[in-house]
């Protein structure tokens, strides 16, 4: 009897709530852990701020899983309205013209005020078409920086963070002779040591403006700068200055355990490092080769953006547009930036964070933003737009691993990677022409 009563109450409630049901908007994302909770919090704040729309964030696993699920769902006509796609998936999304609803168009169609100049061009450039119109909404962007162990530096008598790769070498030698077992390790080797290396020195990674100019792009990362850098790193792997620790960011363990004194990793790794490092650490800009560039250029971003998919009602798209506007609000952005360590996407959010004194209270958190926004992005530093990029990164990983293990020299390895990568690009061109 009691159960029956309870059931009728539940049924009654659900009928009542469906009476004035808000338009539901599904948002598939790849943010696990603390960031995932924050995503739920953001959606809840948006839902509480109005009652016409309800955004439902759904965690779909890692980036690859989220993107693949969304694509599978699209093929089955069950796609969400919004999906978070990592930066390497950008070209695939962009090429799928019938599947995506470009953000600039969505904003116009739904009459949302949308000022593209309010966003940081170094961030939005990655996700804009050749006319500078935003195709997706940047959500979580980061850029590689250098973390260093201040305690170990002090012990070795080093007072300054390295600025150039030459510095990294000399500092590492001092560290090694003071008893540290490895100078530096890196996360995301292709992103940090090739893609961003090229951008930092304003050297192309691929032809046709790194792929922004069309599907006929060809890889170019076997040039003298990249070969010299990879060759040097191969040498460093042998003498202990560099220690390879895998394709993702597993190298963090070596930095936490103080085995390695420096770590090149995403600016978004800050929160994790702060939590796990039992020592004083500093954040420096990504090094560059002195003599190879007059002035280091801005680095490029990693992370993900939000894509709107076709196949939903006008009403839903209105909701999507107002949610994207909400996400871009300075207060929401600043909160997300400060919480997660991802870069702010608007100038207003950056200024607000400054005003709130966050960078003073958390030294090092501004490094990535400053490095990102040095100068105006050029064709070589705007970003990368390559089809089959996930696989190309795999090819690069394999090539770099063969250099680290000493099996192949840098030039041969990069030549092979370029050749294999170009095959993948041609395949993509053929499938999407």
């Amino acid at each position: 009897m009691h159960n029956l009563k309870l059931a009728s109450v539940v049924v009654g409630l659900s009928i009542a709530s469906s009476g004035f049901a808000a338009t539901q908007i599904e948002w598939w994302h790849a943010m696990g852990g603390a960031n995932g909770e924050k995503v739920n919090e953001i959606a809840k704040a948006f839902n509480d701020s109005q009652d016409t729309y309800e955004v439902k964030p759904i965690y779909k696993g890692n980036y690859t899983e989220t993107m693949t699920s969304a694509i599978a769902a699209f093929r089955a006509k069950q796609q969400p309205a919004i999906v978070q796609v990592f930066e390497v998936g950008t070209a695939s999304m962009m090429a799928a013209k019938g599947a995506i609803y470009p953000v600039y168009k969505l904003m116009k169609d739904s009459g949302q005020a949308f000022d593209e100049s309010a966003y940081l061009s170094a961030v939005t450039g990655y996700y804009s078409n050749s006319d500078g119109q935003m195709l997706s909404m940047p959500f979580n962007s980061s850029t590689p920086v250098l973390y260093y162990n201040k305690d170990l530096f002090k012990k070795a008598g080093i007072s300054q963070a390295p600025k150039t790769w030459q510095d990294v070498e000399s500092v590492s030698k001092k560290l090694l002779s003071s008893g540290v077992s490895c100078g530096f390790t890196t996360a995301w080797q292709s992103w940090v040591q090739l893609e961003n290396l090229s951008a930092r020195h304003n050297v192309p990674f691929a032809t046709l403006e790194n792929g922004f100019g069309g599907l006929k792009t060809e890889l170019k990362f076997n040039g003298p700068l990249q070969v010299a850098h990879i060759e040097k790193m191969g040498e460093w792997q042998k003498n202990g200055i560099f220690s390879y620790s895998g394709r993702t960011n597993d190298g963090a363990a070596k930095f936490y355990s103080q085995e390695c004194a420096m770590f090149t990793e995403s600016s978004a790794g800050y929160a994790g490092i702060k939590r796990n490092a039992k020592f004083d650490f500093g954040v420096a800009e990504l090094p560059y080769w002195e003599g190879k560039a007059k002035q280091p250029s801005n680095t490029i971003i990693g992370g993900a953006s939000l894509w709107v998919l076709q196949g939903h009602s006008k009403e839903e798209y209105k909701g999507v547009a107002s949610f994207l506007s909400y996400l871009s609000k300075a207060s929401v952005q600043a909160d997300w930036h400060q919480f997660s360590g991802y870069l702010p996407i608007t100038k207003a959010a950056y200024d607000l964070t400054k005003e709130q004194g966050f960078y003073k209270a958390n030294p090092g958190t501004e490094t990535g933003v400053i490095q990102m926004t040095t100068g105006t992005p050029t064709a070589n530093t705007k970003g990368l737009r390559l089809g089959n990029f996930v696989q190309i990164r795999g090819v690069i990983d394999e090539a770099l691993e063969s250099v680290w293990s000493g099996d192949v020299d840098a030039q041969t390895a990069l030549n092979t990677a370029v050749e294999r990568g170009n095959t993948l690009l041609r395949k993509f061109e053929k499938a999407n022409d």
Binding site: F74, V390, Q391
Partner: protein
């Protein structure tokens, strides 16, 4: 004598659930893969082009594909042989335990309940070059363990992680097989003065051959097709392509790389390999197996 049913319909009705499951979950996807293999398609399925055998041509002109085949063979036979020998050893010893037999046997079966990806993570932690207990212990023993860099070490790691789980399964079957060996035969041999070792090799082992054969098939199929979770959790196919097995490549090209046509072509090749493997095993190896 053959069993006959009074009506023609009933046997079909009884078979229907199994036939449906086979059709929906096996035949239909297989047909889809076969079809997909002849097309080039973008990820979203917006455009599709018939390209004949081009996906297969790409595959068979790719030296890395042959390397992946070799990797798969090395990996699969290592898993099968290591897993089966250890399980046999444990089963022979467990068969002799008198006290606490049940507890001992139960403990040995436990790992089978662990999900492959979890087993992968477990070994990945144990062997992590900078904090894994086994890696650190190896370091003090003078072995520089770094499976991120050393392809052979990476292979050893995935073999260990994949085998560990399978030992329980093999153990269970070997134990059952051992218990089915008639005691009288062993006792008779013992009276004739055969040493324990000789008794095992000339009596027990040949009588176990149906079990061994069955397990060989099961283990090879396991290593071929069900280990991608372990590989994904430990090495992701690296370093280089040293642990990229054929199935991992299908997953990587199809699921991660979104190259549906190429991945489908690989699945078709895998289907052919499985067919061939089954035929070879049953035609040539089974003949030499003693069933009673």
């Amino acid at each position: 004598m053959t069993v006959t049913f009074p009506q023609k319909g009933l046997p079909w009705l009884l078979l229907l659930p199994q036939l449906l499951v086979t059709a929906i979950f096996f035949l239909w996807p297989a047909e889809q893969a076969l079809e997909q293999a002849f097309y080039q398609e973008d990820a979203f399925g917006l455009s599709r082009e018939f390209i004949g055998l081009e996906n297969f041509a790409d595959l068979f002109t790719d030296p890395l594909y042959y390397q992946s085949m070799l990797t798969t063979l090395v990996f699969s036979f290592s898993v099968a042989i290591v897993g089966m020998s250890l399980a046999l050893l444990l089963a022979v010893m467990a068969d002799r335990v008198v006290r606490g037999k049940l507890a001992y046997q139960t403990l040995l079966i436990w790992p089978y309940a662990v999900a492959p990806a979890l087993a992968g993570v477990l070994w990945w932690i144990l062997f992590d070059p900078s904090m894994g207990p086994i890696a650190l212990w190896l370091k003090t023993a003078g072995v520089n363990w770094n499976h991120y860099l050393d392809g052979n070490q990476a292979m050893i790691l995935v073999v260990i992680a994949s085998t560990w789980k399978q030992i329980s399964y093999n153990f269970l079957f070997f134990l059952a097989g051992l218990q089915a060996v008639p005691r009288s035969l062993i006792e008779a041999a013992a009276i004739d003065g055969a040493s324990p070792f000789k008794r095992f090799w000339t009596i027990v082992f040949p009588l176990l051959s149906p079990t061994t054969f069955f397990l060989l098939v099961v283990n090879l199929v396991y290593a071929f097709f069900e280990t991608f979770g372990v590989i994904d959790a430990t090495t992701k196919g690296g370093p280089g392509q040293s642990t990229t097995t054929l199935v991992y490549k299908v997953f990587d090209d199809g699921f991660v790389g979104l190259d549906l046509g190429g991945s489908a072509a690989q699945s078709v090749v895998l289907m052919a390999i499985v067919g061939l493997m089954t035929v070879i095993q049953f035609r040539f190896i089974e003949r030499k197996v003693q069933y009673s």
